[in-house]
Amino acid sequence: MNAKGKAFRYGDNVDTDVIIPARYLNTSDAKELASHCMEDIDGTFVKNVQQGDLIVAERNFGCGSSREHAPLAIKTAGVSCVIAASFARIFYRNSINIGLPILECPEAVQGIDSGDIVSVEFSTGTITNETTGKSWAAEPFPPFIQEMIAADGLINYLRKGVKA
């Protein structure tokens, strides 16, 4: 499983209130949530993002509320992977649980600009900036998390386990 797309670049402490403002949390419809994704930090994100694109951010991405609506909005908006220098822990957990691939790699974050084309190989953790040709090695997910992402989230993964 791999990802490839254009990078949308953000700074430190992107919180879940700007990823999906609480005023839209009166629904759990993924498409409706996605239509407001990143609205309070980047009003043009939804208009510009295309299937497969990546979000690249600095420290503590996804801090704040436990709302799973945040990774859900990002995933449903078409984002194939989030790369950050670090993630807030609940966001990290939620992303894995819903099958949104996320990678911690401070070095890659420094080497990627907005609009660069970036590819990721999940089995090895290799991140490549196709625009500049530079590559970095992020810590790959342990096998059970790779399986969870491949199964499209924790529930499907657990159900598969139950059936098997």
Binding site: N13, D15, D17, V18, P21, A22, R23, L25, N26, T27, S28, D40, I41, R59, N60, C63, G64, S65, S66, R67, E68, H69, P71, L72, S86, A88, R89, I90, R93, N94, N97, I98, G153, L154, I155, N156, L158, R159
Partner: protein
């Protein structure tokens, strides 16, 4: 091998003798919590299991507290989902409007939290219960769904930071000032993935409400949990509220901490977090002139009876600045009644404040006190992110109930020490 208090609780719930930082474990849960925003997503996920009951009807708590009393039709629909699920699954701890309170004030009050418990909640401020010596942490809806089905959750065992407390608070300084000071010191990701363990001779002087406030905001430093030792103060609270016998875990004397911070409580000043991050703190002496439009006193952070008492003490016999919308919201029905019996609600109304039913509404910009473009609020809540309480060009200043009440009187962020008591 030596363990921290948090690690000991995790080990006991994973039925192992010891755990090490970084280890992945599967652990049994004592309580699984959800609210009207996070539960609808969890209920949809739970349905995928195709099972017709939760793991234990007495160990799931559902609290419609965020957009309630229902703020609009969509919110009403989400609450209806919650109510129907609670009925279908015969959930024992479902709290309808009238019994409902803000979840993190409500669950301890209702005796659902005991020392030594392992609790997850689909709400980031679930870390509040560390005040009673429980390991509690926020998760998302999918974890909640899996936990309702299986009674278990996976954890990566955290390392810990220790905060060794000495001394006692000065007048008008409280748990809120302590935790804002700490977040200002270590940053919003200063405790990322870690436990925050509070120890030292200073702990004894903290009220249980102070401890709830401190643990509540552990997440604002990125922590997995915050936790206090179980002393006489905690045991007295548990004896009054929880029917179960407390299980007391203590950190080993030689437990390893990533870092120990020494904090002299007597040196702390009333502290304010400026926009737009909780770690952007200043002491009240460094605030300068900040004109405000709204004051919010309440929330899972500071909506408890001692918070209301402090605010009432400052507002008693006075009038809030007529330009400042002052909103007080007791965190639970029981706190509301107690505040009524003690005459606090009368003080608020006479002062020109409004008293709301329990709700998370204004804290997260849901309803009951949204800010317009360019407006500023002093709030006893927990987050001051961009747009948190309304328009993206509005501002939230986090402070204690004492600072909030003093500011309501003057219309500027104010030092409670400068307000003359009646």
């Amino acid at each position: 091998m030596s363990m921290t208090m948090s690690q000991k609780i995790l080990a006991a719930h994973a039925q192992v003798d010891e755990v090490r930082p970084g280890q992945l474990i599967m652990a049994d849960l004592d309580l699984v919590l959800g609210n009207d925003i996070t539960s609808p997503v969890a209920i949809k996920e739970f349905a995928k299991f195709g099972i017709d009951s939760v793991f234990d009807k007495s160990k799931v708590a559902l609290v419609p507290d965020h957009f309630t009393p229902n703020k609009d039709i969509k919110a009403a629909h989400q609450c209806k989902m919650l109510r129907e699920f609670a009925t279908d699954m015969e959930i024992e701890n479902y709290f309808e409007i009238g019994q409902m309170g803000i979840e993190h004030a409500l669950l301890p009050e209702q005796g659902l939290v005991d020392a030594g418990d392992l609790i997850i909640g689909a709400d980031s401020h679930t870390c509040t219960y560390g005040a009673l010596g429980a390991f509690s942490t926020g998760v998302g809806s999918t974890d909640m769904a899996a936990a309702m089905a299986t009674g278990k959750a996976w954890f990566k065992v955290p390392s810990a930071l220790r905060f060794n407390l000495t001394g006692k608070f000065s007048p008008w300084v409280s748990g809120k000032d302590l935790i804002l000071h700490i977040i200002g010191m270590i940053g919003v990701d200063g405790a990322l993935y870690k436990s925050m363990e509070f120890t030292g001779v200073g702990v004894a002087s903290l009220t249980i409400d102070d401890r709830f406030t401190v643990c509540n905001m552990a997440i604002e430093a990125g922590a997995k949990n915050g936790i206090f030792p179980v002393d006489e103060v905690a045991l007295a609270y548990l004896a009054d509220h929880c029917k179960r016998k407390p299980v007391v875990f203590q950190a080993d004397a030689d437990a390893e901490y990533d870092h120990t911070y020494e904090i002299d409580l007597s040196k702390l000043r009333p502290t304010v977090s400026f926009p737009h991050l909780p770690d952007n703190t200043r002491t009240i002496d460094e605030v300068g002139e900040v004109k405000i439009d709204q004051v919010v006193i309440g929330s899972c952070t500071n909506g408890r009876i001692s918070d209301l008492r402090v605010a009432a003490k400052i507002l008693d016999g006075k009038k809030v600045d007529p330009r400042v919308r002052t909103i007080v919201f007791p965190a639970t029905q029981e706190i509301y009644l107690q505040a009524m019996d003690e005459g606090l609600l009368r003080i608020f109304v006479k002062a020109g404040a409004v008293v709301s039913t329990p709700t998370c509404g204004p804290c997260l910009g849901g309803h009951m006190g949204i800010l317009a473009e360019g407006e500023r609020a002093v709030a006893t809540t927990n987050r001051n992110f961009v747009g948190r309480m309304g328009h993206v060009e509005s501002e939230v200043y986090l402070a204690s109930p004492a600072v909030a009440a003093a500011s309501a009187l003057t219309g500027y962020i104010s030092n409670p020490e400068t307000i003359e008591e009646n």
